[in-house]
């Protein structure tokens, strides 16, 4: 499972970095995003809806994306 560490970075960088990582992944694989930006969770959910990926919040700064 690949981890994208965006702690300390502000929107839209975490979503851009996740999207770049996801492009490299096969369908069904998982990517973990680490982010402490308050916009990341709402944006990740919207991005998941738009790009048809399942997203899940694990804790305050950890999010899981199913490609």
């Amino acid at each position: 499972m690949h981890e994208v560490d965006c702690r300390g970075m502000r929107c839209p960088i975490p979503i851009i970095m996740v999207a770049e990582r996801v492009k490299e992944e096969k369908a069904g694989s998982k990517v973990v995003l680490l982010s402490d930006d308050p916009a990341s969770w709402p944006d990740l959910q919207a991005w998941g809806r738009m790009q048809e990926h399942v997203v899940k919040q694990i804790d305050q700064v950890t999010f899981e994306i199913t490609v």
């Binding site: 502000r10 929107c11 839209p12 979503i15 851009i16 999207a19 930006d37 308050p38 916009a39 709402p42 944006d43 959910q45 919207a46 991005w47 809806r49 738009m50």
Partner: protein, 353 residues
């Protein structure tokens, strides 16, 4: 190149008709309406006429109207005045309510935030007689119109600060308008109490006054003129504004792409909010400003506290790369097309970086 938008509420220009009479209103509005001098009687007559204009257009009784020098004070008067009369068992408010509402009710153990869907709608509870519902008629960011509150059995505070043309539910208790939303002057709130016997002044007070008297009568006169003029403009331009709004929606989806439109199709057409994936709103706003278009944004990088728009977040909409547009009634297709052409170029440029 002119601005496509008067931007949002905080930057809306005073309507030209109100500008025309403003100096005259100031010279007439200097008397004390409480006295019996000729100038005072004349001012009282003007205020009564203004009150009647507000009553006609906002569809409320003239004697329910109170003027506020600080519009946002109306949130406290509207919510706490009802609660002081009858302690609310539960206070319901949509998650997209204005920050002023959140500041008063969020976090209280009897307050309940109502979840909103992607279109910005929420399920209105039936409630009980002692409950209070906060009912924002129109969302200031997205233009989404509130679902009907007619089935709610308790008290209702109506936040009508975003739009003067969407009516109140018949069972309203208190209501607030901000004259800025109809291109009126800054610094005038219209606060209404439907039934005086079911409201108690929550502020320290000595007499039977419902609101502090510190408002400027000249602003009342100018606001009444602006309200009449803006409603006439809006009615005349309604079809054209809807057409321009559809044109923008089609263009940003078909020609630009990767965009999340937060404004629902059935909202008020002059307000539009949309977000471009992978873009920094600050750069978008800055680049559009350089091209002559003053747009606004609800993204975190633009906000004073670096928090994303709570409205977009509650709706599940994209919060970054956000732009907000307020189409004025005199907006032309030529300006909109030019704005879209520039926007397309800016988005392509920024996405290529």
């Amino acid at each position: 190149m002119g601005s496509i938008t008067a931007s949002f509420l905080s930057e809306k220009n005073l309507h030209p008709r109100a500008q025309e009479i403003f100096l005259d209103a100031i010279s007439r509005g200097w008397a004390d309406p409480g006295k019996i001098h000729r100038a005072s009687r004349e001012l009282t007559r003007l205020l009564d006429e203004s009150r009647q204009i507000f009553a006609n257009h906002l569809k409320i009784a003239p004697n329910s109207i109170h003027f506020l020098g600080e519009p946002n004070l109306g949130f406290l008067l509207g919510i706490e005045g009802v609660r002081k009369y009858q302690s609310a068992a539960s206070i319901y408010f949509p998650a997209t309510a204005r920050q002023e509402v959140m500041a008063l009710v969020a976090g209280r153990n009897n307050s309940q935030s109502l979840t909103v869907d992607l279109s910005g709608a929420w399920d209105v509870p039936v409630g009980s007689l002692t409950d209070l519902l906060v009912h924002p008629t129109v969302n200031l960011e997205t233009g989404a119109i509130a679902p009907s509150a007619e089935g709610f059995v308790g008290q209702i505070f109506v936040d009508a600060t975003a739009d003067p043309m969407v009516g109140l539910p018949s069972n309203w208790s208190t209501a607030l308008w901000d004259a800025k939303c109809w291109a009126g002057p800054v610094g005038l709130g219209i606060f209404a109490i439907r039934d005086d016997s079911q409201w108690l002044n929550p502020l320290p007070h000595l007499d039977h006054r419902k609101v502090p008297g510190g408002y400027n009568p000249a602003l009342v006169i100018a606001a009444a003129v602006a309200l009449e003029a803006t409603i006439a403009d809006r009615i005349n331009s309604e079809a054209e504004t809807s057409r321009l709004s559809s044109l923008i929606r089609r263009f940003i989806v078909d020609e630009i792409g990767d965009v999340d439109i937060a404004s629902p199709d059935d909202g008020v057409p002059h307000l539009l909010s949309f977000s471009f994936l992978y873009l920094d709103a600050e750069q978008l706003v800055d680049q559009m400003e350089r091209r002559g278009f003053s747009l606004d944004s609800g993204s975190a990088c633009i906000s004073a506290d670096l928090e994303p728009s709570h409205v977009l977040a509650a709706m599940g909409r994209l919060t970054h790369g956000n732009l907000r547009i307020d189409l004025s009634p005199d907006m032309t297709e030529e300006t909109v097309v030019e704005m879209l052409t520039q926007l397309n170029a800016v988005v392509k440029e920024l996405r290529a970086q």
